[in-house]
C-alpha cells in the first residue's frame, strides 16, 4: 500500500537518530521487515497513516455514493445508462431503484459518520499527535494500538462486503431503527445486509474501544517531564475528551445492536410488538417490545458520536489557528472548560432526537433545556477563536484557511442547532431537509474542514514533504463555497417541510416546487466531489514528489512534535525525550515570535 519512498532512512537527521539512539528505545529497533514496518506496524505514526488512508478510501466511496443519489434527486426524470453498468439490477434502465437509493443513503451515512469522521479523523490524529505532542516514544500499548487499526480494517472489509451481497447492504437509514431493520420481510436491506452491518459495527466498536483506552492511558501516564495537564496543547485535550466519550458511549450502541441481533434471529421481542407484515400477510408473534428502547440506546451513543466527530476537529483548529495567528489561543482554560462542558452535556441530550416519537412532553422539556445549554460552551469557543484572530499576524496557509472555514461552518451549523434543539420548532423541522442541512454543516463539513486543516498542517511532519499549495488553495475555496451552496438552500426546503429520504418528490404538491434547486445542489455536489479527488491526488503525489521539508520546524510552532527529526524513526526522538517548561502557546510573547515548549522560563518571565 505504501511506497518504499517512505523510508525513515531518508534525509540526514533520521539517519543520525539511528546512530545515536540510546538505551530506552533500543528495543524498538530490531530489524524491521516490510510486514512489521508497513503492515503490522506498532509505530503510532505508521498506524496513523493507515487510519488516514483507509479513511480516505472510505471518504471517496461514501462521497461517490452521495453523488449517485444526488444524481437521482437532481435529475429524477433522466436515465443514466452508465449507472446500470456499475450498479446492475440496482439501477435498471439507468434509473436508481428505491432499494438502491435507500442503500446508498444508509451506507453514505454509516461510512461517513463512523468510518471516515470517527475512524479516519480520531484514528489519524490521536495516533499521530498524542505521543508526539505529549513527548512519548509511542502509545502506552503499541500492540493494542495496532489491533485497533486491524479491527477497523476488518470492520471495513465486512462493511464493504455487504455492498456486494445479493439482497444488498443495510438500507433502513444509518440510524437502523427497528422494526424496519429487524425484519427482513419489511425491507430488502434488512435481510443479510443488516447482519453484515451489525457485524461490521461491532468490530468497529471494538476498534474504537481499543484505540480510546490507549489514548486515555497514554495521555494520563506518558507525558514527558514538565508536561502538566495544563501545558498540553488543545489538540490533546480535545482528543482526550473524544476518547472518553467513545469509551463510555460505544458499548451502549453495541448492547443495542446485540439486542437487535436477538430480535432478528433468536425470536426475542426487545423492540418488536404488534406487527403485521403486509408483504407476507402475516402477524408476528412478538408482543410487548418497544422500538423506542432502541432509539434510546442508539442515541445514547449517537449524540456523543457527533461530539466524537467534532471535538478532534476543534482541537486541531485551535492549535493551527494559534500557530498561524502568531499569538496564543485566547482563553486556554476556557477552551478546556468548554470542551469539558460539552463532554458532560453530550451524555445528557440524546432524547432531543426523539421529540416527536411520543416522548413524554415533560421529559422532552428537560432535554430542550440541556440541549440548548450546549450552545453556551460552543459560543465560548467561537468567540475565543475569533478573538485569537484579532490583532494577530495571520498567515493564510491552506491549513489556516481550513481552520477559518471550520469556524464559519461551525457558526452556521451551530445556530441552526438552536432551532432544532427547541422541541417546538423540532415538531415542524424534524426529519426534513433542515436537519440534513444542519448536521451536514455542523458536523459533516465542519469536521472535514478540521480534518483537512490537520492534514495540511501536519503533512510535513508525516511525510517530510509539503503538499502543493496551489491545489490546496483551490481545494479550500471550492470546498468552502461549494459546501455553502449545497447546504444553505436546503434550509429553505426544510422550512417547507420537505421530508428527507425521499427518492423523488414529483408526487407531492407540497414539495415539488424545489426541482430546480435540487438540480443546482446536485451539480454543485459533483463539482465539490471532483475537487476532493484533486485533494486525494495532491496528497499521494506530494508523498512522493512534494517539495521537501528542510527545517525541523517549518511553521515555527511551539509544540514538541517539531523538535523531532524531520523524519522521525520509531521512538520519535533520538536521545532523551525533551523536557517541557511552559505551555504550548507562547507566541508573540515578550517580542519573541515563538518560544518552544522545551525552552526554560527566563529569570523574570511571567508564566502565562
Amino acid at each position: 500500500m505504501m511506497s518504499t519512498d517512505l523510508t525513515i532512512h531518508g534525509p540526514g537527521e533520521a539517519v543520525v537518530s539511528h546512530d545515536t539512539h540510546n538505551g530506552d528505545h533500543e528495543a524498538h529497533h530490531h530489524k524491521e521487515t516490510f510486514i512489521t514496518k508497513y503492515v503490522f506496524s506498532q509505530d503510532h505514526k505508521m498506524i496513523c497513516k493507515q487510519f488516514l488512508i483507509t479513511g480516505m478510501v472510505w471518504a471517496i466511496l461514501g462521497g461517490l455514493m452521495s453523488v449517485l443519489f444526488r444524481l437521482q434527486l437532481g435529475y429524477p426524470d433522466s436515465t443514466f445508462p452508465f449507472l446500470e453498468d456499475i450498479l446492475g439490477k440496482w439501477a435498471k434502465g439507468g434509473k436508481i431503484q428505491p432499494e438502491a437509493y435507500y442503500a446508498l443513503v444508509t451506507m453514505h451515512g454509516t461510512v461517513l459518520v463512523f468510518f471516515v469522521l470517527t475512524g479516519g479523523l480520531s484514528g489519524t490524529f490521536a495516533n499521530f499527535l498524542i505521543p508526539l505532542q505529549i513527548g512519548a516514544r509511542d502509545m502506552a500499548s503499541p500492540f493494542l494500538n495496532m489491533l485497533s487499526y486491524w479491527f477497523f480494517w476488518m470492520a471495513s472489509v465486512v462493511m464493504l462486503t455487504s455492498l456486494f451481497i445479493e439482497t444488498g447492504p443495510a438500507s433502513g437509514g444509518w440510524t437502523v431503527y427497528p422494526p424496519l431493520s429487524a425484519l427482513g420481510d419489511s425491507n430488502l436491506g434488512s435481510k443479510g445486509g443488516m447482519d453484515f452491518w451489525i457485524a461490521a459495527m461491532s468490530l468497529f466498536v471494538i476498534s474504537s474501544l481499543l484505540g480510546g483506552l490507549n489514548y486515555i492511558t497514554t495521555i494520563l501516564n506518558m507525558r514527558t517531564k514538565g508536561m502538566s495537564m495544563t501545558r498540553l496543547p488543545l489538540t490533546i485535550w480535545a482528543l482526550f475528551f473524544t476518547a472518553i466519550l467513545g469509551v463510555l458511549s460505544f458499548p451502549v450502541l453495541l448492547s443495542g445492536l446485540i439486542l437487535l441481533l436477538f430480535d432478528r434471529h433468536a425470536g426475542t421481542s426487545f423492540y418488536l410488538s404488534d406487527i403485521f407484515i403486509a408483504a407476507t400477510q402475516k402477524a408476528l408473534p412478538n408482543e410487548g417490545g418497544s422500538p423506542i428502547l432502541f432509539q434510546h440506546l442508539f442515541w445514547f451513543l449517537g449524540h456523543p458520536e457527533v461530539y466524537i466527530i467534532i471535538l478532534p476537529a476543534m482541537g486541531l483548529v485551535s492549535e493551527v489557528m494559534a500557530i498561524n495567528s502568531r499569538k496564543p489561543i485566547f482563553g486556554y482554560m476556557a477552551m478546556i472548560g468548554s470542551l469539558f462542558a460539552i463532554t458532560i452535556l453530550a451524555f445528557l441530550v440524546w432524547a432531543h432526537h426523539m421529540f416527536v416519537t411520543g416522548l413524554n412532553p415533560f421529559l422532552g422539556s428537560v432535554f430542550v433545556l440541556l440541549t440548548l445549554l450546549i450552545a453556551v460552551p460552543s459560543a465560548i469557543k467561537v468567540f475565543n477563536w475569533i478573538t485569537t484572530l484579532w490583532r494577530g499576524n495571520i498567515r493564510l496557509t491552506p491549513a489556516m484557511l481550513f481552520a477559518i472555514g471550520f469556524v464559519s461552518m461551525f457558526i452556521s451549523g451551530g445556530l441552526t442547532g438552536v432551532f432544532l434543539g427547541n422541541s417546538t420548532l423540532d415538531i415542524h423541522l424534524h426529519d426534513t431537509y433542515f436537519i440534513i442541512a444542519h448536521f451536514h454543516i455542523v458536523m459533516g463539513v465542519s469536521a472535514f474542514m478540521g480534518m483537512f486543516c490537520g492534514v495540511y498542517h501536519w503533512f510535513p511532519k508525516m511525510y517530510g514533504r509539503y503538499m502543493n499549495n496551489t491545489m490546496s488553495y483551490i481545494h479550500f475555496w471550492v470546498t468552502f463555497a461549494g459546501a455553502y451552496l449545497i447546504f444553505w438552500p436546503m434550509h429553505y426546503e426544510g422550512l417547507a417541510g420537505m421530508p428527507r429520504r425521499y427518492v423523488e418528490y414529483q408526487g407531492w404538491a407540497s414539495f415539488n416546487q424545489f426541482g430546480d434547486l435540487n438540480r443546482f445542489i446536485s451539480t454543485v455536489a459533483m463539482v465539490v466531489f471532483a475537487v476532493q479527488l484533486m485533494f486525494v491526488f495532491n496528497f499521494f503525489y506530494s508523498i512522493f514528489k512534494g517539495r521537501k521539508v528542510t527545517t525541523k520546524n517549518p511553521w515555527q510552532a511551539n509544540t514538541l512534535e517539531w523538535t523531532t527529526p524531520i523524519r522521525p524513526g520509531h521512538g520519535n526522538w533520538p536521545g532523551e525525550i525533551p523536557e517541557v517548561h511552559r505551555w504550548a502557546y507562547d507566541y508573540g510573547k515578550d517580542g519573541k515570535d515563538f518560544i518552544l515548549q522545551t525552552e526554560p522560563l527566563g529569570a523574570d518571565e511571567q508564566h502565562h
Binding site: 423506542i292 453556551v376 465560548i380 484579532w390 417541510g497 407540497s510 471532483a530 479527488l533
Partner: protein, 352 residues
C-alpha cells in the same frame, strides 16, 4: 456518450490544474519562499473579503428566491405558534450569525501577515470571557422560555370537543378510523388484521363497539375550526404523520399509540383560493424512513365545514357492515345483520 465526454473534460481539467499547480510551485521557489507566502497571503486575504461580501449578498438573494416557496401561512393554530417561535429564533440567531461571520472574515482579512506587525500577546481576559458566557446564556434562556411555553401548549391535553380520528400507518399508506355513533373506538388486536377479509386494522367483531367504526384510506375528512385529535398507530414499522401545512408531526410507533392535536384554521377550499392553486391539498407525508415505498406514502386531509363533514360521514359504511356484506353476499339473512353505519343520522356525528 455525453457521460464519457464529461469525464474526458473533467480529466482534462484535472491535468491542466495540476500543471498550473506544479508550475506555480516552481515559480514560488524562484521567487523565494518569503515573497511567495506574502503573495499567497494577499490573494487569500482578499478572497476572504470577497467571500464575505458575496456570501452576504447570496444569503439575501437566496431568501428572496425561496421565501415564497416555504408553504406560506400556517393552517393550524399550533402552526402559528411554531411560526412565531421560528421568527423569534431567526431574529436572535440572525444577529449572532451576522456579527460572528463578519468579524471572522474581517479579522482574517485585516490582520493578515505583515512584516511590520507582531501578533498581540493576549492569552486571556476574564471580563470578556464572562461577557460571552453570560450573554448567550441569557439569550438561550429566552429561547428556552418561549419554546417550552409553546411546547406545553401544543403537547397539552386536547380539548374535550376535539374530533377524534385514529390514523394508522402501514407499508405504504394510511388508514383512518372514525368512531361511529357511539363515539368510541371498538377494540382491536393486531393478529386479527387481514387485508383479504377487509379488516385492515384487526378490529374485534365480538366487541360490539367496533360495529359502527368507519374505516377509510387515502383521504381523511376533518372539520375546520374544530380541534382535531389524531390517535396514531402503526401496523408494521415506524412511520410518521407529517403535516407540513399544519406544522405538525408525530411518529407512528408499532405497539405504542401516540397522539397529536391541533385546530385546522382553513378549509381546503379556502386554501385553494388563498394560495391561488386550484389543486391545493393538505398532504400527509410519512416523515420516518419506512422502506422502499417511503417516498410514496401519501395521505390527504380534506378540511371541510361541519355540514359537509356530516354529509360525508353519513355516506360512509362501517367496516363491520362491509365485511358482513362481503361474507354473506347471497344470504337472505343479511338484513338481520346490524348495519349500523347505514342508519347514521347527521346529528350523531362528532360530539359537538
Amino acid at each position: 456518450m455525453s457521460t464519457y465526454f464529461l469525464f474526458a473534460i473533467l480529466l482534462l481539467g484535472f491535468v491542466i490544474t495540476f500543471q498550473i499547480a506544479k508550475a506555480s510551485e516552481y515559480v514560488g521557489i524562484l521567487k523565494g519562499e518569503k515573497k511567495n507566502n506574502e503573495s499567497n497571503n494577499r490573494i487569500n486575504g482578499f478572497l476572504m473579503i470577497v467571500f464575505l461580501v458575496l456570501g452576504l449578498i447570496g444569503v439575501y438573494w437566496c431568501n428572496e428566491l425561496f421565501r415564497g416557496k416555504i408553504l406560506g401561512k400556517s393552517a393550524s393554530d399550533h402552526g402559528e405558534k411554531i411560526d412565531q417561535m421560528l421568527y423569534i429564533t431567526i431574529a436572535i440567531t440572525g444577529v449572532v450569525f451576522f456579527i460572528t461571520q463578519i468579524l471572522l472574515f474581517w479579522f482574517s482579512f485585516k490582520y493578515q501577515y505583515s512584516e511590520k506587525r507582531k501578533g498581540f500577546y493576549f492569552p486571556h481576559n476574564n471580563k470578556l470571557e464572562v461577557i460571552w458566557t453570560v450573554v448567550p446564556a441569557i439569550a438561550l434562556t429566552v429561547l428556552v422560555g418561549f419554546g417550552l411555553m409553546y411546547w406545553f401548549q401544543i403537547t397539552g391535553e386536547a380539548p374535550k370537543n376535539a374530533l377524534q380520528i385514529e390514523i394508522t400507518g402501514k407499508q405504504f399508506g394510511w388508514i383512518y378510523r372514525y368512531p361511529g355513533k357511539d363515539g368510541v373506538f371498538g377494540n382491536k388486536y393486531y393478529k386479527n388484521i387481514s387485508d383479504a377479509e377487509n379488516n385492515p386494522l384487526g378490529l374485534i367483531w365480538e366487541d360490539e363497539k367496533t360495529h359502527d367504526d368507519i374505516v377509510v384510506s387515502q383521504t381523511m375528512y376533518a372539520i375546520v375550526k374544530q380541534p382535531l385529535k389524531l390517535i396514531i398507530n402503526s401496523r408494521d414499522v415506524i412511520h410518521d404523520v407529517g403535516l407540513a401545512h399544519f406544522r405538525m408531526k408525530m411518529d407512528a410507533v408499532p405497539g405504542t399509540p401516540t397522539t397529536m392535536w391541533f385546530t385546522p384554521l382553513y378549509t381546503t377550499d379556502e386554501m385553494k383560493k388563498s394560495t391561488g392553486n386550484p389543486d391545493f391539498e393538505y398532504e400527509i407525508s410519512c416523515d420516518q424512513m419506512c422502506g422502499r415505498g417511503h417516498y410514496t406514502m401519501k395521505g390527504i386531509i380534506k378540511i371541510v365545514s361541519a355540514e359537509e363533514f356530516i354529509l360525508w360521514k353519513a355516506k360512509q359504511i362501517s367496516n363491520y357492515a362491509m365485511v358482513m356484506k362481503d361474507k354473506l353476499p347471497a344470504a337472505p339473512a343479511a338484513d338481520s345483520v346490524k348495519t349500523t353505519a347505514v342508519n347514521m343520522p347527521a346529528k350523531l356525528v362528532a360530539s359537538k
